[in-house]
Symmetry: C2
Subunit: 304 residues, 2 copies
């Protein structure tokens, strides 16, 4: 079933121990929709500027991603620059230019409102709420957020949390949102805010999912050469949501094994994302390669 | 089959967010042998001072641990004091008094030399090597080490590494020993130093085992209330080795599933250890409780 994502489309300049790349295609909606496109049909809602060229647009079109909701307006595309530390375990933001993203107001083409699967990328929770409210019969709504909104737009964020089935955030955001350091307590506290399912991304320590009283945890696939961790979390969310949409899994979380498999597919897409700069590795995948790596996760974790 | 451990027996004073306890029974050989005693018969080689009283000794005897190799000499028992940070994620050593441990020379009762399973706790690698060399027909030798020996006794440590089948260390030690930050590279580099199997303990991020070209990873069991992380790593090693000794598993690592199950039993014993101060939680277990928690790890990690 079709999956709609709203979020940022950007240009990123990234440098780190494996080299540097200038102004490559990035943004949460970009990583998400590319990762999800291997599982299901994807619609993207976002905004780009006049510097967004046909060859950028073609990246989406080639993967069959519907860009009817990707608005092109006067000005420049959102730009981010960052640098990774020697061990890839720390990241410093060097530059952020919101540009056209600063006044972004997601506009849903009318037929998008019937899309059953929705992912609210990391944007202003006020806008997340507007988008969520426009959906006519959502089967599953998931969302992401970040420290900026947790600090600055807490009330709006709490309203959004009451509208979504699944929150997918990283460990430091889970701690900040809940005020709990212990991730089990943090997850439980967030569940009490609304989302029945909380997925906590833990970088190279894997991911943990809370569903009602159940917990599921998966380690990360050990990767010898990490080139660029940018977008790994959005790729995770894309694999997670893409898989659930492809199965038609309901947001109520009753099909627990589908959600567990979704965490693995999320981890698979995150593990691919870091193997090359930007979206490069994600562009040359197949469902077969993805399923082979799914089996790698089984081999990594299975004991009898 | 019988399992011999050589290591420290100590008194620990621990303080942290959940309270503080003075001079409780601790030390690597203590945690290890108590954890292992639920799986197999255990012999302990260590040294204590005159302040080591009958009620301390009885802790071992009650669990059927053979203390014939636990020497009592004039002076005081090894003493360590430490403090855990608010979130339990950092530890500061407040005091270390080696006392009788400073001149410890492990003396193996003659019949101990035929014991098939040996764990070399974190002591001077010169002493580890002497003990390992005395074993007549070892089925499996595992060892631990720490930053102090990696820095100060590198050559001796490398000689010990060539004598053991399994090294069980934590992530920071693996990085220091190998000079590699990436844990996969670190593990591979350590395998090249001798031990075919490398188990990397990662605290509340679980554990990863490398065996030849295979990797096995398990997340930690999320625990809401951690009381005292002291000894969790030694308890892990005790569960790991105790299980392998109980199965008669060979050190060559051919029975891969037995080693995977051993990592889970190690994780189980580590998870129990942190739930109360010192060895308190470990004293009141049963194989049934242990196997129930083994099943918790299956529920935590299983996907179909």
């Amino acid at each position: 079933m079709t999956l709609l994502v709203v979020g940022s489309v950007a240009f990123d300049s990234v440098s780190g121990p494996r080299g540097s790349v200038e102004r490559m295609l990035g943004g949460s909606a970009t990583y998400f929709s590319i990762a999800a496109s291997y599982f299901t049909s994807v619609q993207v809602v976002g905004v780009v500027g006049e510097d967004f060229e046909d060859h950028h647009h073609n990246v989406f079109l080639k993967l069959g991603i519907c860009t009817q909701g990707l608005e092109r307006v006067p000005g420049k595309t959102f730009f981010w620059a960052g640098e990774y530390s020697h061990n890839m375990n720390e990241r410093q933001t060097l530059d952020t230019q919101l540009n056209v993203f600063a006044t972004f107001e997601p506009k849903l083409p009318l037929h998008y409102r019937q899309t059953p699967y929705l992912f609210l990328g990391n944007i202003d929770p006020e806008l997340q709420l507007i988008v969520a409210s426009q959906m006519e019969s959502p089967a599953l709504i998931a969302g992401d957020t970040m420290n900026f909104w947790i600090e600055g737009k807490r009330e709006h964020l709490e309203r959004t949390l009451r509208k979504i089935h699944v929150l997918i955030i990283n460990d430091s955001e889970a701690r900040q949102l809940s005020g709990e350091y212990n991730l089990l307590k943090a997850g439980r506290a967030i569940q009490a805010m609304g989302p029945k399912t909380v997925v906590i991304k833990r970088g190279d320590n894997g991911a943990t999912m809370l569903q009602e009283s159940e917990i599921f945890s998966v380690p990360a696939l050990p990767i010898e050469e990490v080139f660029d961790p940018t977008g790994a979390g959005d790729s995770f969310a894309g694999g997670f949501m893409g898989y659930l949409a492809s199965c038609g899994t309901k947001g109520d979380g009753t099909d627990k094994n589908a959600f567990r498999r979704a965490v693995i597919y999320g981890s698979v897409m995150g593990s691919f994302a870091v193997e090359e700069f930007g979206v490069d590795r994600l562009l040359h995948l197949s469902r077969e390669k993805i399923d082979t790596r799914f089996q790698d996760f089984q081999a990594l974790t299975r004991f009898e």
